[in-house]
Each structure stands twice: as C-alpha cells, then as structure tokens.
Amino acid sequence: MIRVENLHKSFGDEEILKGITTTFEKGKTNLIIGQSGSGKTVFLKCLLGLFDAEKGEIYYGEKAINDMDDDEKKELREHMGMVFQGGALFDSMTVEENVMFPLRMFTKKKKDEMLHRVNEVLDRVNLVNANKKYPSEISGGMQKRVAIARAIVNYPRFLFCDEPNSGLDPKTAILIDNLIQEITREYDITTVVNTHDMNSVMEIGEKIIFLQKGTLAWQGDNSQIFKTDNKDVTDFVYSSDLFKKIRDIQNLED
C-alpha cells in the first residue's frame, strides 16, 4: 500500500500539487485521472521519487520516503516497476536484453536462470518471437508489452504506469489495460496508473482519484464515477461525445 499525506509540490512560484492526501491499495489498479495540466504526471513523479515534494509525506508500507536512508531508497526502487508513456526501452538493447536488464542489475542469477525468467514474462505479456528484435523494429503495442515485461520481471511490489495506452488503437489499449489488471491481481502488487482515457477508467478503475488544478477533487471507483454529483468530474467524464450519448440513452431508458 502507498499512503500520501498532504503532498505539496511547486515549480518556482507555481504550486502544482496543493496538499494531496490519498491511499493506493494493494492488489488493485489505482487510477490517477484528470485533465492535462492537472498535476497527474508531477504527482506520479513525486510517488516515484523523481521529484522531491516540498511538504507532505509518501509512505511505502509503514515508512515515509523522507525517513528512508539511501540504502532503503535504493532497495525500495528495486521493488518498483515503471511503464513509461513512450515505453522508455533502451534503444541499444534487444527486447530480451531490455527485459533482462533489472535482473542483471539487481540479482545474482545465472544467465540461463535469467533467460528462463525473461521468457516467462514475455510469454505472460503474450509476446513471442520478438526476443532478438530491437525496440525500433517492433510496434507501439509490442513496445508497451516489453515495457510491462521489464517492469514485472523482478517481482516488483509497486507498479507505476504513465499513460500506458496512449498512442495505441482502442483494441490494443484495452488489451494493455486488461494485462495490467491481471498482473496486479496475479502478483498482488500496488499498481498506480496515470491516465486520461475513459475506457481505462471503465475497464480497470478499481480505485480512482481525480485531480483538478493540483487538488484531489474526487475519489471513488468506476461504478461511482458515473453517479457522482461532482461537476468537475462529470465535466471530465462526459467531455467525450460517446459518453454523452451513452448517458442520454441511459436517461431515456430510466
């Protein structure tokens, strides 16, 4: 579990995060949603420790990240998996080498053991016959699968995904969303997904927090989000014509 208490982050005079308090639960896919510029990416980067917060605490388990010494932070990061928006695969490495990278860095496994684990996770993300290909030789959807495989290869306790289905066609996007949810349950990990895709919200939003101008404006799950009275949330949810039409149909049926 990740617990966030009163998190503040500014860049110069501009306050991006204005006191966010929430929890991300283990075994669930936790979604951070909000419009562009609402502070989602900054929040995610604070969770990852890429940005230092000015005020507030982030607890991984029982310990606040600010109270951890360098060794504890290093150990924590070894247990984090991250799927970046663009995949962030290492260009100079093949798919197999990319996925093997965390094992080479943090374990003392022999090469055949590492290869066995790499093939296991590549199978898990339904990626076959791509081991020796370079990231530039595979499609965007496949790159996301490799990124997920790399993120889970070392059995992380926390999985973070930044816009995991951006740039993908709707069908592949749903496959990636489902994969993330299945892996979260299978590995019993805390997963935090940063997205503004309403399809993801509907598919995998077991816990959703909605950010609006750096504040937490609403939190709940995907069954509650369509029933909320919060105007900011409804404006965001029904900003798409498709969802407006679905709402109109539902209203007619009722």
Binding site: L48, G49, L50, D70, K73, K74, E75, L76, R77, E78, M80, M82, F84, Q85, G86, A88, L89, F90, D91, F101, P102, R104, M105, F106, F160
Partner: protein, 245 residues
C-alpha cells in the same frame, strides 16, 4: 549568472559520476562497449587526418623556408614539433570534440528525451555513473589514439617530404632527432589525459541536462562542441604555461 549555474551543475555532475557505482559485471561490459564506440571507431578518421596533415605540414614548411642559410633538416624538425606538441594532442582533440563529443551528447540527449534516463533512475540506478563513468574509463585509452596520430603525422610528413622531393630521408630523420626533448612527449600526454577527461565529461553533461525534444538534442550537440573546444583550448593554454613556460 546562467554560466555560473552551468559550471556548478557540471561539478555536481562530476561528484555524482563517481558515487553509487554500477554493478561490476555490467560496468565491465559498458566499458568495453565504450572503448569500441569511442576509441576504436575513431581510429579511421584519426589515421586519415593525421597522415595527410603531417604531409601538409612538411610541404608547407619546405615551401616557406627556401633559404640556403636554413638547414635542410628543418622540415623534419618542424614536422615533429608541430605534430607532437600541438597537432596530435590539441587539434586532434578538437576534431574529436566534433566526432566523439556530438555522438556522446546526442546519444545521452536522446535517452533523456525518450525517458530512458528516468527509467534508470526509477530502477534505482545512478544514471550518471552508468552512462558517464564507463566513458571516462574508456577514454583512458585516448592517449594511445594520440600516439597513433603522432606516429602517422610524422610518417605522413616523411612520405610527403621525401616522395614529394622536398627533403631527403636522411635530412628528415636527422630533423626528427635534432634537439629532441623527451619532456615534450610527457607534456603532450599530460595534456592528452586532460583533454580525454574533458571529451568524456563535457558532452555527457550537455546531453544529460538538456531539456526539450529532438530539436534540442541537435542544439545540445552544437553547444557540446563549442564548450568542449573552448575548454580544450583554455586547458591547453594553462597546461602549456605551467609546463613549458
């Protein structure tokens, strides 16, 4: 003020390069890869430029000293002094600032743009140690490149001088041996080590701290060449003043 901040960020980077080391077995592979990309891949251009510039130095010297009072071995002497003292260590390093430096900046800059550096950080890896330290170690072999440049520059001078009819082989070789001060070789290699450090770290710094997209990677490569060249020239002046004045 911005320049002070830039200089500060360079020294902060250097501190981080030598902290939180990468796992030994991975580091060994990285160093070998950097030796291949930075040192071995540079040999072709170094060999080509050194040989022909050496030849041009010999021809220019011969053509500009057609005076019977000047000894005929001066062609070899001038070629040796020019190549060993300045051309091989300093000007070859400026050429390498363009070849090697822009490669380092663009490769690290591309990693920054595509979040690969963020990925390293999230994994708990010190990206500066992972990316820059192997380059510094690989460029400890840079003096060998410069030694090859010195040899080929002088060889080029000999070939152009002798086969171009500007000098005899005996006179050229006598010129190479005349007034030879072995400390000049030491001086040349001392500054080569300093330039190697600049070549490894300044382009890395430019690439690592760049912000923006693909266009900025190009700008960072240009800045990298400018900063590296300026620092090489300044360092050359300082070392020459300290060691030869």
């Amino acid at each position: 003020m911005k320049y002070l901040a830039d200089i500060g960020s360079y020294f902060i980077m250097l501190k981080q390069v030598f902290s939180r080391p990468t796992k030994g077995s991975v580091l060994r592979e990285l160093i070998l890869k950097e030796i291949d990309e930075l040192v071995i891949d540079s040999l072709g251009i170094v060999i080509f430029i050194s040989f022909f510039v050496g030849g041009v130095v010999a021809i220019q010297t011969a053509l500009n000293i057609s005076n019977p009072l000047i000894p005929d071995y001066l062609v070899g002497f001038a070629t040796r002094q020019s190549i060993i003292l300045e051309f091989a260590p300093t000007f070859m390093s400026i050429i390498m600032a363009g070849k090697m430096g822009s490669f380092i900046t663009s490769s690290i800059g591309s990693m920054r743009v595509t979040e690969q550096i963020d990925a390293l950080e999230v994994m708990g890896i010190n990206p500066l140690n992972y990316l820059v330290f192997p380059k510094i170690i690989a460029l400890l072999l840079y003096p060998f490149v410069i030694a090859i440049s010195m040899f080929l520059g002088i060889l080029g001078g000999w070939v152009a001088g002798v086969y171009g009819g500007f000098s005899t082989s005996d006179a050229f070789i006598r010129g190479l041996q005349e007034d030879f001060i072995s400390f000049h070789i030491v001086y040349a290699f001392i500054k080569t080590f300093a330039f190697a450090f600049i070549l490894a770290t300044v382009p890395s710094w430019q690439g690592f701290f760049m912000k923006g997209g693909a266009l900025e990677v190009g700008k960072a490569s240009t800045n990298s060449f400018v900063w590296t060249s300026v620092l090489i020239i300044l360092t050359n002046y300082i070392i020459t003043s300290l060691l030869l004045s």
